[in-house]
Symmetry: C2
Subunit: 377 residues, 2 copies
């Protein structure tokens, strides 16, 4: 799980990257509060409703600013100091939550009067930076954070692997449960229950749970549709732990797979292997797309919906590096990526997608996901 | 559910309230995009990851600005026009999602050159308003929105009642399932499944699922704890539909309730009735707190944890009006509120909380929730 040491290291790297350009930094996006401070309010508590928090970083201290109702989450964060703002005490009428925080953060920043402040230009609320006390130069640190967060630390990989182990339980439960007549919603609930049991806490999950033609999207949430004999069901979902998400897939069939379905699954597995073989530092991301798509084509398959071959993931998804035809990205050690061959043949109602997650290593890659890929048990 | 007519009416009321003070308005908080445009991206889709959207309102048009990956959610919104921004096409490396939207919204606002712009000062990202083209006067519309949204429209009430009917199914499932030996997590999963089945779509739920002393908080999420014979379990949770949430409660006992537990449940029910009798427009919110707490005290009960007696709810919770001892709020027609008597007697491991939701009407109130309150089936 996310550690104090990991957060310190990430803050240190941000300073090194920013060099002398800023005196202090102000962060407000949920993803970078998780990245730099391990702050990740639970979506399963009323406490996180309409809340937001800020991380103030100066070279000598990291201060998390949050309101009193977020105290349990703030106390679990890894910072040098908490600044807890009184918002609601259960005895008095409270003012608007966002505004109370905005005023408090603006006061805090104003009191420090930095001449050169780094901010998340796309996340810090406008009102925070509008005070008369703030007259220095502002630098957007958003692009630097996106760049840095591609390389995962050991505590980030451990958090991702926890999410992955929960998701693996979900894939196993779905494989066990699928049969003609079961609904997408029943399968969704089996997956959710298995992930929750694996984590020993309610699982935050999202993704594709759609059968047949609906698997092409754009709406791939679970519905009351009951699977028909021979129908394909794509399970492509994420579990989120402390802001970090995995993203991998399998395709199951309700009942006995046909020879064509088996052949397409074999093609997708071969394509995945071709991609996996090429993963490594210095590799152009579009190469992975090329070899995966070439294997599918070599086996004579065409698709009516061309999806991306893969992408980076971690604090969001999709994100860089993009494993697509026109990608400008080059793989680096520490990137976490997916490869996800996906084929919807003409005249088929549905299609097949399978997917693994990998971390790029000096020697090539390490596969992070261990679910069994296959159409049936 | 949220309707186009409802959204138009709410935008109209915002214009009326703002009068001549602004020429245009820019909204970016999730709660007010739901309120004014019915825009509510699903938390169960990868599409909403790191996304944000903006609503531009001029007297002659309402424009929702979102990126292409949010298209399905944007198309379900109620506005005059969509401005879809190309972020990721599955073929090329994409830039940071937040920044692409920030630049697009800034360009849009800059092209309109409003002299007097109303903004959500605590939600619109700083970078949106930093462009050289924006030299007019800025007004924070956040407080006006908080004020307006207290009074619920028919479509908002219908949405809340859909959330309530799903939650009622959850309460019934928990009452059916509770027994000594069942875990909090198993109960959570039963509740989640029942809500999901009632909605025919994955349910977004959060709240308290803790037994015994843990029910006092602050951490009230479900754990692997197995309920002991006679242990009290407080179920106090919310279902969220299109951004609107209910919030009501019951307390169950694993096994046979004791005489003391029955007596406390009766006291809480009487207290709830005292509060309910007084609900109506023009009533000071603190009066509700007084009569509820007086009934509990009159029956000889004291508590080791004094919670609020109630609060407003809808697009968030808690929010105004606050039903607390030092409240400054006065109830109005259209307010949706909870009353939630809660007692943790000294020397008890746990306590009891029960809760209903109401809308304030000309004649007093209408109760919105219909779950059976009681310690057992």
């Amino acid at each position: 799980m996310i550690t104090a040491e990991g957060c310190r290291g990430r803050r240190q790297r941000l300073w090194e990257r920013l060099g002398e350009t800023v005196e202090a930094v102000l962060i407000a996006s949920p993803e970078h509060l998780a990245y730099l401070a391990g702050y990740a309010p639970s979506p399963f508590s009323f406490r996180s409703n309409e809340s937001w928090a800020a991380l103030w970083m100066a070279p000598d201290e990291a201060v998390l600013i949050a309101d009193n109702v977020c105290r349990p989450f703030a106390e679990a964060a890894h910072v040098d100091r908490l600044e807890l703002i009184g918002w609601y005490d259960g005895k008095h009428t409270a003012s608007g939550r966002r505004a109370v925080m905005r005023e408090a953060v603006a006061r805090f920043v104003g009191s420090r009067r930095p001449r050169r402040l780094g901010v998340e230009w796309s996340a810090v609320p406008a009102g925070v930076l509008a005070g008369p006390d703030l007259e220095g130069e502002l630098t957007d640190v958003g692009p630097t954070l996106l760049e840095l967060r591609r390389q995962k630390d050991p505590d980030e990989l451990a958090t991702l692997e926890l999410a992955i182990s929960a998701a693996e339980a979900g894939f196993a439960a779905a494989m066990e449960a699928i049969r003609p007549g079961i609904t997408e919603l029943e399968l969704y609930l089996r997956v959710n229950s298995a992930c929750t049991a694996a984590l020993d806490t309610p699982a935050q999950i999202y993704g594709d749970f759609a059968a047949g033609a609906r698997a092409k999207g754009p709406d791939t949430h679970a519905t009351p549709h009951a699977l028909r004999e021979g129908e394909l069901w794509i399970l492509d979902f994420s579990v989120v732990v402390r802001g970090y998400r995995c993203d991998f897939a399998n395709t199951l069939v309700a009942g006995e797979p046909s020879a064509d379905q088996r052949a397409l699954m074999e093609a997708c597995q071969a394509a995945l292997e071709r991609g996996e073989e090429r993963l490594g530092p210095g590799v152009e991301a579009r190469t992975i797309d090329e070899v995966v798509q070439a294997e599918i084509a070599a086996r004579g398959w065409t698709t009516t919906k061309r999806s991306h071959t893969g992408h980076g993931l971690g604090l969001s998804h999709p994100e860089a590096p993009y494993l697509v035809a026109e990608s400008r990205d080059v793989l680096r050690v520490g990137d976490v990526v997916t490869i996800e061959p996906s084929v919807f043949p003409p005249d088929w109602a549905g299609g097949i997608r399978i997917e693994h997650n990998y971390v790029i290593t000096e020697g090539g890659c390490r596969r992070l996901t261990h679910h069994r890929i296959g159409l049936t048990r």
